[in-house]
Symmetry: C2
Subunit: 302 residues, 2 copies
């Protein structure tokens, strides 16, 4: 085994809030330059079906940020009982709208609507969430396309402490289409040896112990203790789990047990304040990039 | 570490010729049933640009097999200097031809033509090679689509000796779009813990040593010796490398050193006679499946 540590030292905190602020600043500059060249701002359309309270909070924060960065943003709020044809017609209208560069259909949808179906209706060049099969296929094939925002944010955090990942052993715990699988492809593009672990993995501690780069995205509170982690490893925690706190209230924790892991990991993201802010920052980057590409402008962005 | 062996015993030979014969027999039956229902045979169109001698051999064997199994097959042989527009027009004509269910553009193309470009022009529902980004994206997302023939053949060989792969450690050496990456996704769908290794992997012997299932697809003759292999492992060798033989002629060898590996592996494919025959058999399966799906018939096939 190559026993070289990927990082020297221990316990560096990967501050997602600060890094996201930088990225949002870049996105704002790119949006301003776009507006100067084209006479319009990059446009983001968000579709929120029904009244899911958590979705309302997410959508509001995305739209607020888009406005703050100088984007044109529009919100569509069809009633929870909109039928498939109605939703697809709305998406078709947004596909055809020249002022809209990015379309985001907030998930989950009500049970009578199919998320795959809705996402398939989004024009791939406006699919700033990177969920469309065409964009998944491009990521698979190493072709330029839109990559989901959370793994983009994770990679940025990882590369902030170690830009050269070639040959590193990367372990992704979780195999969702929106985090685990795209994360694995991004790390493969960085020339990592990539292992995808999941609920059926037999000996997760042994798999985690081999990771120079560990991305946890399973949604099980504090399931990965520090003692599993390779000294010096870069640990990125995508989990956001609400658990009871000592004071009788609740608190957010990740999939990694931060308190024990921070003494072993070379660098680690906190929860909250790690990956979360990066995701929404990359939504703005993707939207801005969509605008540049649709306008035929060179994209030299983040 | 889970030290249970995935197979008991050692040295079982995975006979790709015999298994491919079975699959071809199934494909012939499915083609006959299709013809009975629809009044026409499943149709395969092969496009061979120019005079590459190896490509000519491959194409001839694919067409011969298609005819033997009762498929309708057509060959298109544009001259090596056909331009992009000409090739795309030919593909468009085949997309529109109701008698054609599968379209295969034999690679490599002459240098002035771009393979990605040609493949993107094939209608995804006729992309029986499974190379189109839409089909790659569907494989990524776990949606039904066309999967490349070689990894399909590998998985069939693996499951012939161990149908339940859940929790097994699978290692894929090689990360090509047509073998390594789709193989990794197929093994992930089987609930393996999947590691993708490649030329930048730091300690390949250690990675290979952890594999219950090993798929080698790198194209380096006999690079994996038996001593790297976990006892009882299922070893599938995609490599086909021509090397000098003792008699002054040449011979074909795989990426695995068969002579040393067969004493350690629980089951292993020979080269030749392992994966190779499976690939062309699955081309026929994919073509037959394309015919069924296009005709709106239930596909209960191989």
């Amino acid at each position: 085994m190559a026993e070289a540590k990927i990082l020297d030292g221990v316990g560096r905190i990967l501050d997602g809030v600060a890094m996201a602020a930088e990225i949002k600043g870049e996105a704002a500059k790119l949006a301003a330059a776009f507006a100067e060249k084209t006479g319009r701002a990059p446009g983001l359309a968000v579709v929120l079906v029904g009244e899911n309270p958590a979705s309302q909070v997410y959508v509001r924060s995305k739209l607020k940020l888009a406005r703050e960065l100088g984007f044109h943003s529009v919100e569509h709020r069809p009633a929870a009982d909109i039928d498939r044809a109605g939703l697809l017609a709305l998406i078709a209208q947004l596909n055809a709208d020249p002022a809209v560069d990015g379309i985001l259909v907030q998930l989950p949808l009500p049970p009578h609507l199919d998320a795959d179906d809705a996402i398939a209706a989004i024009s791939p060049e406006k699919d700033v969430d990177g969920f469309h099969v065409v964009n998944a296929g491009k990521l698979f094939a190493g072709l330029p396309g839109f990559v989901p925002c959370t793994p983009l944010g994770c990679l940025k955090l990882i590369k902030s402490v170690q830009p050269n990942l070639a040959g590193a052993n990367a372990v992704v715990v979780g195999r969702s289409n929106i985090v685990g699988k795209p994360m694995a492809h991004l790390l493969l593009q960085e020339n990592c040896t990539v292992t995808i672990a999941h609920s059926k993995t037999r000996d997760l501690p042994a798999v985690v112990a081999g990771a120079d780069v560990l991305v946890a995205a399973v949604g099980r509170p504090s399931m990965i203790p520090g003692k599993w982690i390779k000294p010096g490893a870069i640990v990125v925690d995508v989990g956001i789990n609400r658990v009871p706190a000592l004071d009788g209230k609740t608190k957010l924790v990740g999939d990694v047990d931060f308190e024990s892991a921070k003494h072993v990991a070379g660098a680690i993201t906190p929860v909250p304040g790690g990956v979360g802010p990066m995701t929404v920052a990359y939504l703005m980057v993707n939207t801005c990039r969509a605008a540049y590409l649709r306008a035929g402008l060179d994209w030299g962005g983040v």
